[in-house]
Amino acid sequence: MRVGVRYCGGCRANYDRRAEAARFVSRLREEMPDAVSEDAAPGVHYDLLLVVCGCRAACPSLAGFAYDKAIVIVDDEGIWRNEWVFKNNTKAS
């Protein structure tokens, strides 16, 4: 499983986004040992795009990024566990 990590610009992030992304991937590997993560690059296809945002505005552009599924992290309190899912670059309710 190829995981790309895409960050928002971090204008007023109030937690360590990189550390939180690493924590997420670490947990993911418990379920999917083959998961490999990297900083996301446009044009590369990812099975999962991890969108790590400093706040719930969740404003990073995903234009040019290819992925099957995206999960958005907006804080370091586990908000990623359920809602905040992007699918095909469309924010789900």
């Binding site: 895409r6 960050y7 928002c8 610009g9 971090g10 204008c11 007023r12 404003c59």
Partner: protein
């Protein structure tokens, strides 16, 4: 060339033959001058963060001219989202530097000149827009820093450009040649000008037909023959010359910069001219640049404000006053003021619109309201910061005294450093040095060299308060509002 790194940017400055004067002499190695270097470090971080995956979403954009990834500071805004991201980028950089990072003037000038030249060409059949697109493509491909220069010295404010005793008090055309023009004059208070690769010149105010030689916009390299700069000194700037200075500087790494940029008969080739005597467009160019720049302050000053609020809260912690209700309330007030500025910056971006040229312009009324607030709120924020910090901010001994091993010939036999550390200790668990550091930071931002950027620049940068009030009056639309009142009140006339 791809996006430069901060180090590549600094090295690129060394390759220029920029003429810089400071303290009465020409400074050849201005890149490493201790007074100037912090401002260069500030610009350098705008390059470094563009390479950082944690910030590139704000720091970069896709060029509409080349389709390539460019630093946002060289970008033409293509949507309201771009306008919003500009403000967010500025807040980010203010938080990282607690200083003016100087690159906004160029970005704001690009967007104003781009849309204005399009409309000039449409009326006069000139080719300024093509000139400018070619120029901006060069800027983007080389990731340059540009001084967007507007403010002339202006001399007697009661007289127009042409009525001044000295015609050079406004930049003007002195000669038109087949291959270009020769210009003369100066631009004052130029933020980041020495640290810029090029200068993009605009008129400072509207121009009448009889003064049309003052309606000129062009770009020249910083080392163009006849161009030189005189560094503007800042409060407490010579502290940076003290050997080993660190704590007493408040902000050792970063700072802002302004200079007087003089044009002593500088030649401008035809393809670098963007306005040449089309006097009826000078006002449009000024209004658009000022609008963008008034939006900018709703981002950059907010980021600096975040650091000041944090410093004030730390000072309260170190003083043991953090639980006092009035201290908590003052921090709330500072936050309220700071976020109000941010709200204005975001609002004027959300309400932006597309220009005839295709790039996006902010909402002019909201941008002027934003800057009008910036002329006031930072002053209240630093007043509250000084209140929380206490008088020690301006009365404590130097760091040399705190570190001194000089034995004082009294009964205790303690050193000078011992005495300083004994009496300036705050709460348990906090070193005297850390307490001193946060107080020196606040001193620097409230009344030291960084006060140039946070206080007086907030007042006069992007136009003094009255300039915004004039624009607010023009945009206020009182007639519509009168009609609203008539409708509600049942007045039929």
């Amino acid at each position: 060339m791809p996006l430069m790194t901060g180090e590549q940017y600094i090295e690129s400055l060394r390759k220029l033959d920029t003429k810089v004067y400071i303290f009465g002499k020409e400074e050849k190695n201005w890149v490493d001058h201790p007074i100037i270097r912090p401002s260069i470090n500030c610009v350098a971080i705008t390059y470094d963060l563009a390479h950082d995956p944690e910030h590139e979403d704000l720091m970069t954009a896709t060029s509409n001219l080349t389709g390539q990834k460019v630093n946002r500071f060289t970008h033409l805004h293509q949507s309201t989202e771009d306008l919003i991201k500009k403000v967010k980028m500025q807040r980010l950089l203010g938080r990282k530097t607690a200083s003016c990072f100087q690159r906004c003037v160029g970005m704001d000038a690009f967007n104003a000149v781009y849309s204005t030249t399009y409309e000039v060409d449409r009326k006069y059949g000139t080719s300024y827009h093509e000139n400018f697109k070619k120029y901006l493509t060069y800027v983007q491909e080389n990731d340059l820093t540009i001084d967007g220069a507007m403010t002339d010295p202006k001399g007697d404010r009661g007289k127009s450009q042409g009525a001044q005793a000295d015609p050079d008090l406004f930049v003007h055309i002195v000669e038109k040649r087949p291959d270009g023009i020769v210009v003369r004059g100066a631009k004052a208070h130029q933020t980041g000008s020495i640290n810029s690769h090029e200068h993009l010149i605009m008129p400072t105010q509207a121009v009448s037909e009889e003064d049309k030689q003052y309606a000129v916009s062009f770009a020249v390299p910083s080392d163009a023959p006849g161009l030189f700069m005189i560094y503007g000194r800042q409060s407490c700037d010579t502290r940076k010359l003290e050997p080993g200075a660190d704590v007493d500087l408040g902000n050792k790494q970063f700072g802002g910069q302004e200079a007087l940029v003089v044009f002593d008969n500088v030649f401008v080739p035809n393809d670098r001219i963007f306005l040449c005597e089309e006097w009826d467009f000078a006002g449009m160019l000024v209004e658009r640049f000022a609008g963008y720049h008034r939006q900018s302050y709703g981002g950059c000053k907010v980021g600096v404000g975040d650091v000041i609020i944090g410093a004030a809260a730390l000072a309260a912690d170190y003083n043991g006053a953090q639980k006092a209700s009035h201290v908590k309330d003052k921090l709330i007030e500072m936050t309220h003021l700071n976020e109000t500025l941010y709200s204005c910056g975001i609002a004027c971006s959300c309400e932006g619109h597309c220009t005839a040229a295709g790039n996006y312009q902010i909402d002019l009324l909201l941008a002027n309201v934003c800057k009008q607030n910036v002329t006031r709120f930072p002053y209240e924020i630093v007043r509250l910061a000084e209140d929380i910090a206490g008088g020690l901010m301006v009365t404590m001994p130097s760091e040399i005294d705190f570190k001194s091993a000089l034995q004082i010939p009294t009964e205790s036999g303690l050193t000078l450093g011992d005495w300083c550390n004994k009496f300036f200790k705050g709460t348990e668990g906090v070193t005297t040095e850390n307490r001193m550091r946060i107080l020196r930071f606040l001193e620097n931002i409230c009344l030291g060299s960084s006060a140039v950027g946070y206080r007086t620049e907030s007042m006069h940068g992007a136009g003094s308060p009255q300039a915004q009030r004039i624009m607010i009056a023009r945009q206020a639309d009182y007639e519509t509002k009168k009609q609203l009142a008539k409708d509600i009140a049942g007045i039929k006339e």
